[in-house]
Amino acid sequence: MSVSFALLGLLESGPRHGYDLKRSYDEAFGRDRALHYGQVYSTMARLLKNGLVEVESEPGDGPDRKRYAITDAGITDVAEWISRPEQPEPYLQSTLYTKVVLALMTGRDATEVLDTQRAEHLRLMRALTKRKNDGDLADELICDHALFHLEADLRWLELTAARLDRLAAQVRP
């Protein structure tokens, strides 16, 4: 899911060819999982269908000749996605990371992204804490497990917030 928003977001800085998109994506987010070329095209096809991107064809033909550009609807969609907190869950980092980097790249408020997410995490943690304190030992153990994971996320959020300046310098050369 986040791949499509990421690609969409990358287009905000200007229209690109499919191959460029893959390269940019791999550079920014694809540390350990490079994107398959085919995945770019299938995603673009879906976005095109939903009207979030449009194609500017250059002279000549073949897939390489297609340049994608983001539509206004696409921009709105990206903005909405970035500012919407993720459902707190384990192994969230990749999505959050994508959001933060995209926010930095597109000049949005990355701190806001982190704070919104923190609030969401805390909301869930409050609920879990309450359940834990009201429930029995089994509840307590289960909740604690979740709480520790959420806490790890939150710590990561804190750390990222503290390093936003450095990260910004890196993604916006």
Binding site: R118, A119, R126, E151
Partner: protein, 227 residues
């Protein structure tokens, strides 16, 4: 939750020499709520807490408690306010080492003029409430960190204050003890209806709050009160 905030900081500035600890911090504390103050270390959380409690006076901006402006209050008035309406829990080393735990808890009552007997009776019941009745006769040096913090919480609650300021109350404890202290603390605070301003950088401690505010570079990003 009450509509009117109990305690309000408005555009507060404060520097320590070169260090600008607070640069336009604003915050609202509502009656009975538990507000977590989060943020990286050195961001100004403690400084803000001290301003809210009337221990520090801001250089500019205002701190209002109810309809009173702390800036215009004399030092002794603010002391009286702290004695009567506020309670404090700090990270560690806050108990008077030569007093027994029970005497430590009774101290705020005694300072406010209560008789020895009555103060000690209430202190004992608070130690009970925080599940450390057996440390009553011991000195702080003879009890564990977690027990000591529970004694500190009892001491903060004993005067039934309107606001309790807690600065990293579990900072020196392991997570199990920290949780226990928080559980007892917040339950007791809720019971007495005290608002709690809780400075912490631990998410699991912050999870005991109703609402959080993030301090960053001397400014506050405050979450709207729920509903």
């Amino acid at each position: 939750m009450a509509d009117q905030p109990l305690l309000t900081a408005d555009d507060v500035h404060l520097s320590f020499g070169e260090t600008r600890a607070l640069q336009g911090a604003s915050l609202h504390v509502y009656g009975g709520e538990v507000l977590a103050l989060m943020g990286p270390s050195g961001s100004g959380k403690s400084t803000l807490l001290h301003c809210l409690a009337g221990i520090l006076t801001p250089e500019s901006g205002s701190i209002r408690y109810g309809d009173r402006d702390m800036a215009t209050m004399s030092d002794s008035d603010r002391s009286t306010l702290r004695r009567g309406e506020f309670g404090f829990v700090f990270q560690f080393g806050q108990l008077v080492p030569e007093l027994t735990c029970q005497e430590n808890v009774a101290l705020p009552l005694r300072l406010a003029g209560a008789g020895r007997r009555e103060a000690h009776r209430q202190a004992a019941s608070w130690l009970d409430r925080l599940e450390v009745p057996d440390v009553a006769a011991k000195r702080p040096g003879q009890v564990s960190g977690g027990q000591g913090q529970r004694v500190a919480v009892a001491r903060a609650l004993v005067t039934r204050p309107k606001v309790i300021f807690a600065d990293e109350p579990t900072g020196a404890l392991d997570s199990l003890n920290g949780e226990l202290v928080m559980k007892l603390f917040i339950a007791a605070a809720k019971e007495t209806g005290a608002a709690v301003v809780l400075v912490t950088h631990e998410p699991r401690v912050a999870a005991y709050s109703d609402r959080e505010a993030v301090v960053r570079d001397g400014r506050v990003r405050e979450q709207e009160p729920a509903r």
